[in-house]
């Protein structure tokens, strides 16, 4: 009887210890990851993306609320449809890519976590750094855990591993991040809409 109890306790302990969160790398091997941004302007919205995404997110499907991590986008990867506008965007007057090379979101906590099947919706709170200014930011996010899909995505089903897709969107005011605050507002809207749909990989050896 005592042996059975010891065995049961050791089994429970073993399963708890093995359920460690998995680290997902957001430097996508297929180069799909990007944040999209859009600003209203005089003629039409100025839209573009930033494809230099990297970062690590620690995720446990059994304890989604404990998710932590950081997503980084290189400022020099921000691109719009006009190369002159792209140069201005990355330049000294706007985002000053040489001085502020990274745009960072560091997750502090997840609230209102609701999981249905492989998909979780939550409210993410974190520290958002843009143009050298860091502010607290809250945004709705959707996390989709695709178990065993890593190899399939690369057309190498023999490779095991999971994928984690993160989707979200938020709006910031460029004056909050010292981006030409109060200037050219008649030509370029002060509000910037950002959306992200990115995938992280956790290959298994």
């Amino acid at each position: 009887m005592i042996m059975k109890k010891i065995l049961l306790v050791s089994l429970v302990l073993s399963s708890v210890l093995n359920a460690a969160p998995t680290s997902f790398d957001f430097k996508d091997p297929k180069g799909v990851n990007a944040i999209q941004f859009s600003l209203d302007s005089l003629l039409e919205p100025i839209s573009g993306n930033g494809s230099g995404v990297s970062g690590l997110v620690s995720f446990d499907p059994a304890n989604v609320g404990a998710t932590s991590g950081k997503i980084v986008v290189t400022t020099a990867s921000l691109t719009v449809s006009n190369s002159m506008m792209t140069d201005h965007l990355r330049g000294e007057k706007w985002l000053n890519a040489p001085v502020h090379p990274e745009i960072v979101f560091e997750l502090v906590k997840l609230d209102n976590v609701q999981t249905t099947g492989t998909t979780t919706t939550a409210t993410a709170t974190g520290k958002f750094t843009l143009n050298g200014v860091t502010k607290s930011l809250t945004l709705p996010v959707k996390l989709t855990h695709l178990a065993g899909a890593f190899g399939k995505r690369l057309n190498k089903p023999e490779i095991g591993g999971d994928l984690l897709v993160i989707r979200g969107g938020f709006t910031i005011n460029r004056s909050d991040y010292a981006i030409m605050a109060g200037q050219m507002e008649d030509k370029v809207n002060p509000e910037i809409k950002l959306t992200l749909a990115i995938v992280g990989s956790a290959p298994k050896a």
């Binding site: 297929k30 990007a34 999209q36 691109t79 006009n82 695709l146 899909a149 897709v165 749909a197």
Partner: protein, 85 residues
């Protein structure tokens, strides 16, 4: 010289207008790379790549009109008939 400037102005105006109309009559900003949308099959993520292609916008058309106007105005600095010796 006066006529040459006016012909040049007309060429710039017609060239700019033709270029704008033939390349899509885009009423936004000029683009020199065009976004193309794709979807990742496994994750359903929609992502954008850029195709190198020139699409003149309203700013290109206005620049053509401005340049043609400038050339046309400059033509008035020259005499109608050059003086004979």
């Amino acid at each position: 010289m006066r006529t040459a400037f006016r012909l040049l102005a007309m060429t710039v105006l017609l060239g700019g207008l033709s270029c704008w109309v033939l390349l899509g009559a885009h009423r936004g900003w000029t683009k020199n790379q065009v976004p193309v949308q794709h979807t990742d099959e496994i994750t359903s993520i929609q992502y954008v790549t850029y195709e190198q292609r020139f699409v003149p916008g309203i700013d290109f058309l206005l620049a053509s009109i401005g340049l043609a106007g400038g050339l046309s105005a400059a033509s008035f600095f020259f005499n109608r008939n050059p003086p004979h010796p």
